[in-house]
């Protein structure tokens, strides 16, 4: 019996640096370990260089200098990796699309940022598009809906990849949301700065999810998921939210986002 969850990977070991993202690091390490498992099962050697934030909150708040400082730090930290893989489309978009824009006046750094961007990938699309993973051999019993995070979809072209892998999960049935491509209203600091507006947008997303009659909603971005889970829970919905990597790695047996440990001190 094989222990591998992933089939169809190539033979050459690649040194993959996991850019875990601050949200996964602090809020939900399970997603990081799920990413490690998926990558190792596909034959990669995974390393985790010391890291902090990609700089996106600063970048989107108009503070380019801080964003550039954090970009420099990340680029240096992952210098000796063949690939950088990130379990988030939003941070991925920052690393891949926006880092090169930060060093317009510095050709040497700009070239480094370009090289860094070209070796960096969002987790699920890295598995399918770079490693050629076609299916996973795990089980998840339930009906799930997949929410396309805006950055994954529009900055990185991630749409079919997670659906393809989810289709290979035994026991899982995938339903499409009417508005899978509509923003959940997270938007990083937007959710706190424009709370009322963000709430109006995520309320529509929660309605759409409830209408789809799925037991679980999945996405590739923890930011969206914290927002969606928080709204569903506040509204008393029983729909659970998880990162897609947890399901693909067969690590979805623990509590879903915002749910208590079974038997946690009562």
């Amino acid at each position: 019996m094989t222990m591998n969850a992933v089939e169809g990977a190539g033979p050459r070991p690649r040194r993959v640096g996991l850019f875990v993202t601050c949200l996964v690091d602090i809020m939900r390490p399970t997603v990081g370990f799920a990413a490690v498992k998926l990558l190792e099962d596909a034959g990669c050697t995974v390393v985790v260089p010391a890291q902090t934030c990609c700089g996106q909150p600063a970048y989107n708040s108009g503070d380019r200098a801080t964003a550039a400082r954090l970009a420099r730090q990340a680029i240096t930290a992952f210098e000796d990796c063949d690939h950088v893989v990130v379990p988030s489309g939003s941070c991925g978009g920052m690393l891949i699309r926006h880092y090169p824009e930060l060093f317009a006046g510095e050709p040497e750094m700009a070239a480094k940022a370009e090289r860094f961007a070209s070796k960096t990938h969002e987790l699920v699309s890295f598995l399918t598009d770079v490693l050629g993973v076609e299916r996973v051999t795990v089980r998840f019993d339930g009906t799930v809906a997949y929410h396309d995070s805006c950055s994954s979809l529009r900055e990185l072209g991630v749409k079919a990849q997670p659906r393809r892998l989810l289709a290979s999960v035994e026991g899982l049935s995938l339903v499409e949301l009417d508005e899978a491509e509509t923003c959940c209203g997270f938007g990083g600091l937007f959710a706190a700065k424009y709370g009322e507006l963000s709430n109006a947008i995520v309320s529509r997303k929660a309605d759409d999810i409830r209408k789809a009659a799925a037991g679980t909603v999945l996405a590739g971005d923890l930011g969206c998921l914290l927002n969606i889970a928080g709204k569903l829970q506040r509204a008393g919905s029983a729909v659970e939210a998880r990162h897609v990597a947890e399901v693909l790695a067969g690590m979805a047996d623990g509590p879903a986002i915002g749910e208590p440990q079974k038997g946690a001190g009562r």
Binding site: F33, I201, G258
Partner: protein
């Protein structure tokens, strides 16, 4: 200055919009546009190539705008018309009011024009003792309601049919009170009847322009009601008001842009009427105005040329960005507080009225990117909103709590060891505090979040500390 901006009160406007049950009901209609656009794009195999071509046409024109403006002016003059350049809104109002007075006009009809809204033209015309009558049905409705457009192509999209019935009963007192206005086509018929008399009585007709063609001196308008045609053909004078970036080099260019305009806007292959007007009535023409004027408005646009907001001047005012915007869909156009709503308004408003007044708008975006995805001329709207945030930040205009919070975050994020220590501590503390329920219903400093949704508690130790415990620090 023009229409008064309530943009600095954006958050209060948002609250009003979200708690306005009638508005929320009306806004569901706005969401239909997205599906229609998608279907129209789907029907046309070369749609994406057309978008590239549309962008190239506009970029080329903007790079040579001075030349094409001069060429356009020459052609208008050759065809017997007059061109007036207006540097700002006040200059434009003066020119138009002066022209109307010169005609001895008592009444003018108007086709739909966002430039008219931008310069606050109706108030100026009426202050001169001249009646201004909007003839686009949506514009007519909001004129009766003393409102401004809430959408650049569907100005009354925030109004329901029942509202219109009440407005018509109040405004059209000469009609029998017992008449049936329960169906939309009855409302339409009544507006048509009332407006017909206005068309025939008008001394001047004012229209906007979707395009101005340098090669021919023609102005082009697209409408679905034909009101623009009656506005510009029946009166003695036709006055076109348009901003300078409406110029395109050739008729062929205009035709290319028309192919993406209606599809992006309403999902129609073409608008019902596409009307070209070139100069006044010529000898032998069966109809047309005896005077033809074009007022070209700058109002801050030439200052955008060559700068980081130049791409915004490609905009052809289709409204696709707002039709696809989650923020616009939630609150409608009036919350934006000035003339132009949605993503295009969020970029254009600070350009035209200043970032101190308009700075809220480019901040109020999730950067979901759907606007850029559907823009027919591929304007990088999120990128330009970010540019505004950068200018705000550089000028110290961003709110103090945000600056402080980000500064603290950046301090830790630039020091990996300290960051691991601090986040490790915070994650464990929050985990312990929240583990019974797995989440928080309220949390200090997170009110903007927890007022509306729960906040998940961290799982405990951070990923990095668990990884190090397992694998050592090197790996």
């Amino acid at each position: 200055m023009t229409a008064v901006a309530t943009t600095p009160r954006f958050k209060a406007n948002v609250h009003e919009a979200l708690t306005d049950v009638r508005l929320q009901g009306a806004m569901t209609f706005a969401r239909n546009f997205a599906g229609r656009r998608a279907a129209a794009a789907e029907r046309l195999p070369e749609f994406e190539a057309l978008r590239d071509s549309a962008r190239a046409i506009k970029d080329h024109t903007l790079a040579h705008l001075d030349l094409y403006l001069e060429a356009y002016e020459r052609k208008v003059v050759e065809s017997g018309g007059h061109v007036h350049f207006a540097e700002d809104a006040e200059a434009a109002r003066k020119i138009v009011v002066g022209l109307c007075k010169g005609l001895g006009a008592k009444s003018v009809t108007k086709g739909k024009s966002m430039i008219s809204e931008e310069i606050g033209l109706n108030a100026a015309i009426e202050a001169a003792g001249i009646e201004a009558v909007e003839t686009d049905l949506g514009e007519y409705i909001i004129q009766l309601r003393h409102e401004t457009p809430s959408h650049i192509i569907a100005p009354a999209i925030h109004v329901t049919a029942r509202d219109v019935e009440q407005d018509f009963r109040k405004a059209h007192r000469e009609l029998p009170p017992e008449r049936d206005l329960s169906r939309p086509e009855q409302l339409l018929g009544e507006a048509r009847g009332v407006l017909r008399a206005k068309f025939l009585a008008a001394d001047a007709g004012i229209t906007g322009a979707n395009f101005l063609i340098a090669e021919t001196g023609a102005s082009v308008i697209v409408t679905n009601e034909g009101n623009g045609d009656l506005t510009q053909i029946l009166p003695r004078a036709h006055i076109v008001i348009a901003s300078i970036e409406k110029i395109v080099p050739t008729l062929e260019d205009a035709a290319q842009l028309l192919r993406v305009l209606a599809r992006s806007a309403t999902g129609q292959d073409a608008s019902v009427y596409t009307t070209f007007s070139t100069g006044p009535r010529r000898a032998g023409d069966p109809d047309g105005p005896s005077e033809y004027h074009v007022v070209l408005l700058d109002n801050g646009r030439s200052a955008m040329l060559g700068g980081e907001f130049e791409d915004m001047l490609r905009c052809i005012r289709c409204g696709a960005c707002m039709n696809h915007c989650p923020v616009y869909q939630a609150v409608g156009g009036h919350a934006y507080g000035w003339v132009y709503p949605g993503p295009m308004g969020a970029v254009l408003t600070p350009s035209l009225i200043g970032v101190a007044e308009g700075g809220q708008l480019p901040n109020a975006s999730t950067f979901c990117g759907r606007c850029e995805e559907v823009c027919p001329v591929r304007i990088p709207l999120p990128k330009m909103m970010r540019h505004w945030r950068e200018r705000e930040f550089a000028r110290g205009l961003s709110p103090a709590p945000q600056r402080f919070g980000l500064g603290a975050w950046a301090f830790f994020a630039a020091r990996p060891a300290l960051y691991r220590f601090a986040t490790g501590l915070a994650a464990r503390a929050l985990h312990l505090a929240g583990r019974r329920k797995g989440r928080f219903a309220s949390a200090p400093l997170a009110g903007g979040w927890t007022r509306y949704r729960d906040l998940a508690a961290p799982q405990g130790a951070t990923f990095q500390s668990r990884w190090r415990a397992k694998n050592g620090a090197v790996k």
